[in-house]
Symmetry: D2
Subunit: 110 residues, 4 copies
């Protein structure tokens, strides 16, 4: 399924001849810009109000974050499943259950 999504994204990009612009630095900038556009839906309001009034925008901007993230992964030849599972393993070490249970403190202060 992920392969299918990635293929659609690459097809969209190639039809527009945009690979030439998609260097990793500008893709990383793009992920950050889309994450801000997602966050903008929550500005000046709580979660509930945002979700009830802005769910259409939230879906679109979250999709854009994912699209650029998959483009960067593709550009760098990264395997999504591999990098996510490897990061979860690292997070398990940073946040051991016995210290982190029910605790939102950052690992640097745990």
């Amino acid at each position: 399924m992920l392969d299918h999504i990635i293929a659609k994204i690459i097809e969209f990009r190639n039809e527009r001849d945009w690979k030439q612009y998609h260097n990793p630095k500008d893709l990383a900038i793009s992920i950050s810009l889309e994450a801000s556009e997602l966050l903008e839906n929550f500005q000046w309001r709580g979660s509930e109000e945002a979700v009830s009034e802005k769910i259409g925008n939230i879906k679109d901007e979250l999709a854009d974050v994912l699209i650029y993230s998959l483009l960067l992964a593709n550009e760098l030849d990264l395997d999504i499943q591999q990098i996510v599972e490897s990061k979860i393993e690292k997070n398990k070490v940073k946040y051991p259950v016995e210290k982190a249970y029910g605790n939102k403190t950052k690992y640097t202060e745990l």
Copy 2:
């Protein structure tokens, strides 16, 4: 495969009893913070130097962007494939091939 990744992320979260903190607004903030940590690897350097010196960090931070994105999608009961494909269709309208081919101009100025 995506379901498998999502299941691992949810398991990690539940073992730490963190669902209580994961309201959509703070998850959107988290995506934005992780996107910045990803981008930090490209600060003061071009893509090539960043990728050659910081690929380990880049993988980890891109994974964190994906992890929080999947958590937000899960929290809002969104289907990843559906929102991404629907956004690609909208992007096709915003960026018609005949205007956007080889052109990096934003749709609002096309």
Copy 3:
């Protein structure tokens, strides 16, 4: 007073021979990264808890946002007072009092 602050920032930069890295694109990235570090103090908590527990960090990260903003303004030869007053005038047109009073709606939807 602003001139005095800017002079201190430039002195700090010059003592480290960092002007060579301070191109406008990387300074804009830096402002965004520091804004995220500021925002991180509010992740998983409301304003009150953040301010009461993290005021030291908040001061430091807000200062960093200002430092990089002043560096970018200096690099581009911009007059702070002029650009801020000019933007306030534009915002007055975007948000006329009769429409915007007590209303948090974005100008594009007013």
Copy 4:
């Protein structure tokens, strides 16, 4: 001069009765969103092209970053000169001249 700018910003806010929305968390979000809008001017282009084609937008978005930063400082009763000078002192310790001269490495890796 800074006092004069801050007074103009506060006047703009009060005329619209917006203080009610300006809690520190949402102001921190706003600084981050404006920093992204500033950065967007540099997406897909180098500094020189961005400055030559987008200087009007760059001025406006940098002004917005400053406006929200001054609003947050005002909300938290912070003295701009004091927090910036205090942060420069801390940065001097993090980046001693003898280690940091001509060196863009982050202090955590110096």
